[in-house]
């Protein structure tokens, strides 16, 4: 197996693992009435300044129509409240309730613990190199796939060699 194949296998496995483990860890008894997806909406709303629909929809890469439905359910269940903005009456500000904040911190705690466990597996030096390498990869993605904030232009990687 080449270095490339190994790297690919590892990334694929890591993806599957993290996704699966996160799903299982987030949806506990306490938060049994919300989904993995809901949890990420709660994360996107955050505990800082209230965010509006458009902003959160963009963070989640969905349309505002899609988000409207999700937020309907989260309001119903008491995780989120909508507040009309005073300055611009078209705008809806999304805020987490205490219950919503509690879910937010539950999620945050999962990430903290996961990272803590991961980094306990390696030395500081190793962690640094890992961070350096990952940063390079992320930079690469940002540079090659995203046109700043506007519409992304995607390279057809799968056809780079045979067109």
């Amino acid at each position: 197996m080449t270095l490339e194949e190994t790297l690919n296998d590892l990334l694929v496995k890591l993806f599957k693992d993290i996704l699966e483990v996160e799903a299982k860890c987030l949806i506990t008894e306490e938060f049994a009435d919300i989904s993995y997806n809901d949890m990420h909406i709660i994360e996107a709303i955050g505990v800082e300044e209230p965010r509006n629909m458009k902003t959160v929809a963009n963070m989640m890469s969905v349309t505002t129509g899609t988000l409207t439905r999700a937020i309907d359910a989260l309001c119903e269940k008491g995780y989120v409240v909508r507040r009309r903005s005073e300055e611009d009456k078209r705008v809806v500000k999304l805020c987490l309730t205490d219950k919503g904040k509690s879910a937010y911190y539950h999620h945050e705690q999962f990430h903290r613990q996961m990272i803590k466990n991961i980094s306990s597996e390696m030395t500081d030096k190793e962690a640094e190199v890992l961070i350096y390498a990952l940063a390079k990869v992320v930079d690469f993605f940002q540079l090659n796939y995203y046109d700043t904030d506007e519409e992304a232009e995607f390279v057809d990687w799968a056809n780079i060699n045979n067109e």
Copy 2:
């Protein structure tokens, strides 16, 4: 920002990026009639020995009922054929058609290209360390979250410290 926070941010970004980029790259004109999900079913079926429903459903972490529907659509569209097993007539063997194989190789090509681009960004030494670190992380997940092949037992990471 601590080392831990940085690592977390990088993993989260990497996840989002790869997911988004892969979705865009896989669904090209040629394969416009199938989804990201379909593409991964095709990947799971593979080009080696035909696999049965149960096996592919397990690989995809979905029920066989869910897979039945997806395979119905893929057969309809000419990517997959079902064949009853001779030895055990309950079993259905899934095989890719030529069109299905072509989609399979399209996906494979995407991964190759992505990895090639990623590793062109770093030296061999860096790649080795990255692989070493990722392998540790994957091992950790396997060890702590999966009970060999059977039902997984999940540690409640989010509550490890406060129960």
